[in-house]
Symmetry: C2
Subunit: 155 residues, 2 copies
Amino acid sequence: MKIVLDHYDYNILELLNDNARLSYAEIGRLIGLSQSAAKERVISLVDRGVIKKFGIEVDYSLIGYSLPVLIHLKFRNDDFKIFLNQLQQFPEITSCKRVTGEYCLVAEAVLKDNSHLEHLIDRLIRYGIPSTAIRLSEVGMPNFFTLHKSKLKKS
Amino acid sequence: MKIVLDHYDYNILELLNDNARLSYAEIGRLIGLSQSAAKERVISLVDRGVIKKFGIEVDYSLIGYSLPVLIHLKFRNDDFKIFLNQLQQFPEITSCKRVTGEYCLVAEAVLKDNSHLEHLIDRLIRYGIPSTAIRLSEVGMPNFFTLHKSKLKKS
DNA sequence: TGTGAAATTTAATGGCG
DNA sequence: CGCCATTAAATTTCACA
């Protein structure tokens, strides 16, 4: 069940975490592998499911979506499917997680303005009571893999 | 202040959002531009700050961090700097956002097990009362740009 | 801004330790 | 598993529109 990664894998994850567009050749150079081996490693990480996706981080505030919010939701269980469907009609919702506790879902959305938020709340309120918080800023966190690879014993 | 994107830009963001490793040549092919033009566009999006980062999404549960949690935090303002420093000592915290409302910070962490969580709470509790929720699952959301590009008028 | 073309670098494959 | 070598493809740069 648990996948064991060696220091090559951790180094690759560290590099791709910072820049997913690095070429295999450059990855190889940086970690001391040939380009073929580096490529095999990356593909293997994808095949094993460790890397779920190569994506981008977007600054939505620059393109007109300057109201980022967190929405906490309670909902009635019988409407769950319909409710999720409603959520997915809103592409402004960039992520949605089911969690334990008083609120069942925590969603993040990027909205244009207050009336955009109002519209979103109007559609959600049928299914439960949404609690909205404005996301003021992000606190930068270090690369997960930078600190974890150092815990590995040399092989 | 607001950056206006055309349909080429939206198409590029849509593509890179799904696969950040697409080659410029392929991007160009898919949206009807030469590779040079496609590359210019991507670089311009990065330079203007719209694309903040090319990164990866990792399945941490596969590599031993099978307890994903959301932590809501209240803290005393006088300790804010020290508090953030504490947070950044924990690379298991993958994101941290300052929000309005009763709780000032919402952090996400990937932990190994309950004792790992206990250790994290022990270090955070000095600064305020953390409220922990287990992240049960993620609800898949559609690509933000897929639905937004269709709203553009042809130029 | 976009295109096209030439030189350099990478990607992809297959065979070998 | 990783390295090397080869062919195909992509990147980079630049002149031109």
